[in-house]
Symmetry: C2
Subunit: 224 residues, 2 copies
């Protein structure tokens, strides 16, 4: 973990650096200049240098960045060099999609259990992970040193389950429920609000359409 | 659509306003002051006034905001008062989760079709939506006036499918594949990169842990 405070904006960009560096490693690239990385990532080289300077001189003038070293250091900063135990609450399609995503495990996120209230789902096994009754949640969290819970349940159920998770000692909630959770200061929440994402997309599409229509109108005005 | 340019940061916050206003309407609240909204949304009243002033005087001094009016205006700005036709490419768990989310339809997002390459999925019906072969993608997009495509497929397949969608006239891609798509300027992309979200969560958890450990060490140093 870096000593000094790193801005939220930089942290938010780190996973994308991590992905590109991982792809470079897969391609057998050992070193890369900020200029070459800039072309690949479509951000300016100066932004890249500024961002990565936060972690103290990974790059060397005329030599570039050591891809593997940078990849490893970013992993440390993001804490994905450690193991995180996860439970998924809500074994519907979204919960199962997460359970089936093997890449999470490669990055140290170990799915220990899944939970649901639906008796037809309880007892089923998804990629080796048994779906359990929500009644057993607290005991399981304590017994398995679970830090993170993914909430893939309707928003009406989310606050109660969040309270139970916090009481059981969970430290982080990955919240897919479409509501803002109220948790103590030492519990972190990362929201994935899919309908908000879709609305942003809608806004962009409509802006683009309006712009195209205005331009068309301008052109026709010019002709007449 | 508003006449003047609205900053990206404000646009990014609008869906959250929309959600809170929708909940207020469900609770039968007709008017709300920026102060009351501030308490509910846990942002400052001045931020709320600044954000909503972008759309020209929705609020009145001493009267507050008209909830329904504001809700309707934000819907117009976001373009969710219009109908958007969507297809989902990739009928796995994530694709099915999106197809099953009825709230999208309430906001004007109509899922017209789902596509997959897996013969065992093709022909199945999810909430009235038939899963079709990807071979029929272009024709279907043209015949059904589809604007938006949700990509819930592996990153290796995403660039090729994105190219085909763009050729078929799609205007927006809701991209769940863990890669950055290259599209023409008049096509918009909204990314949902779940593993990046999980890494941000990991960072927050680790920062919190490190902070707690430092504080503990400080306290123990103080005692000795």
């Amino acid at each position: 973990m870096a000593e000094k405070e790193i801005s939220k904006a930089v942290i938010a960009r780190l996973p994308r650096y991590y992905r590109y560096l991982g792809e470079l490693m897969e391609d057998g690239v050992e070193r890369i200049s900020s200029n070459d990385l800039s072309v690949r990532m479509k951000v300016t080289a100066s932004q890249i240098r500024q961002d990565l300077n936060n972690f103290g001189g990974f790059g060397q003038q005329g030599y570039g960045y050591n891809v593997k070293y940078l990849y490893t250091e970013i992993a440390k900063i993001l804490g994905i060099d450690r193991q995180h135990n996860i439970v998924i609450i809500g074994a519907g399609n979204l919960g199962q999609a997460i359970a089936n995503y093997a890449n999470f495990e490669k990055r140290g996120f170990l799915i220990k259990g899944m939970f649901d209230i639906n008796p037809r789902l309880i007892g089923l096994v998804v990629r080796g992970i048994e779906i359990r009754s929500v009644d057993d949640l607290e005991q399981f969290v304590r017994d398995n040193d679970v830090q993170i819970a993914a909430l893939t349940i309707p928003k009406t159920k989310a606050p109660e389950i969040a309270d139970r998770l916090v009481s059981a000692g969970i430290k982080a909630i990955w919240n897919f429920a479409h509501t803002d959770l109220v948790v103590p200061d030492d519990v972190v929440v990362e929201n994935v609000h899919l309908s908000e994402s879709l609305m942003r997309l809608s806004y962009k599409v409509c802006s683009m359409q309006d712009k195209a229509e205005e331009e068309k109108a301008e052109r026709e005005k010019g002709k007449s």
